[in-house]
Subunit: 185 residues, 2 copies
């Protein structure tokens, strides 16, 4: 492979902010432009990077959480409850919208967390169809520990960017996520 040539071409076409590195999406886009010069594949520059980065983050998180004996899905549920504030309880339906999973999945997750003693299920006093899921003290501690570990890891990943760049990036991403989060989705 002519890595060096590719990098040269890259820096001529599109000078990067500082001195940037090529990534897989650069290679992917270059391949499409070669194979399908009739198409405008610019959207991939943004959205393929989002998907691939998310995949990498999933793997990194799995590693970080395993040091605290938690799976990513467990972290998602426990921290949703933790964020709700005392008495740390939410309905399964509220948990659905926060974690973007289906109802069958959430039932299953609650079952397993309850078996591990990290949450407990209580009847909803105001709606007999409903249930409230409450964090146990141990569940709360585990969530807090894992959060600290996650933040440390994420800070390391974000060290690539300046403070201002992180702010810009957050703002741009918000513009893309807001329609999904506010309209039905």
């Amino acid at each position: 492979m002519s890595e060096i040539l590719d990098l040269k071409r890259l820096h001529v076409d599109r000078p990067l902010t500082l001195i940037g590195m090529e990534d897989e999406v650069d290679r992917l886009v270059a391949a499409w432009r070669r194979e399908r010069p009739d198409l405008d594949v610019e959207p991939l520059e943004v959205l393929s990077r989002v998907s691939r980065l998310a995949r990498h983050l999933d793997r990194a998180r799995r590693l970080a959480f395993s040091e605290h004996g938690l799976e990513p899905w467990e972290f998602d549920v426990l921290t949703s409850l933790r964020r709700a504030g005392a008495p740390y309880q939410l309905s399964p339906g509220q948990l659905l919208t926060q974690t973007l999973v289906t109802s069958g999945t959430m039932t299953n997750r609650i079952d397993r967390l309850a078996k591990k003693g990290l949450v407990e299920r209580l009847p909803d006093p105001s709606d007999r169809r409903g249930v409230l899921v409450r964090l146990t003290p141990e569940g709360r501690d585990r969530a807090d520990e894992a959060l600290a570990g996650l933040l440390a890891q994420e800070r390391a990943i974000l060290a690539q960017l300046s403070q201002a760049q992180r702010g810009d990036l957050a703002g741009l991403l918000r513009q893309l996520t807001a329609p999904f989060d506010n309209i039905p989705g």
Copy 2:
């Protein structure tokens, strides 16, 4: 809920680029600052948005692809081969690094795509351990159709941003993905 109050506070704290909308991550970060004022949760502003946006994109893509009778995982494999150029063939190992799945998963995917007649498995003439996966003509057509559909959908999502903003966003994301893509990962 005091939606209106929250929005006011938001615009005072952190004026958005133009007039932006709140998203789920804004709510998530606000909740953490309330529950854990001792922690700096700024990293979540970026990386939680990446993960959530990826989840939304997965759902949107599933919908777009279903119009062409493809699953997202099928698209990933077929387009990897399509991008390779004629004769549209790669080893399973090369497909692994492009799609970020494990070898067992890839074996399974190739099996199912072969059963559907979209790819075929050939022995690698230069390495008897190896296999080459080749796109069939039908597989190639399906990949091209689905790509066009995907690009249309992604353009709609990205209409939220100006041309310049899309460029900025791509550049910032590249800085985060490059370490994963270049170092072992």
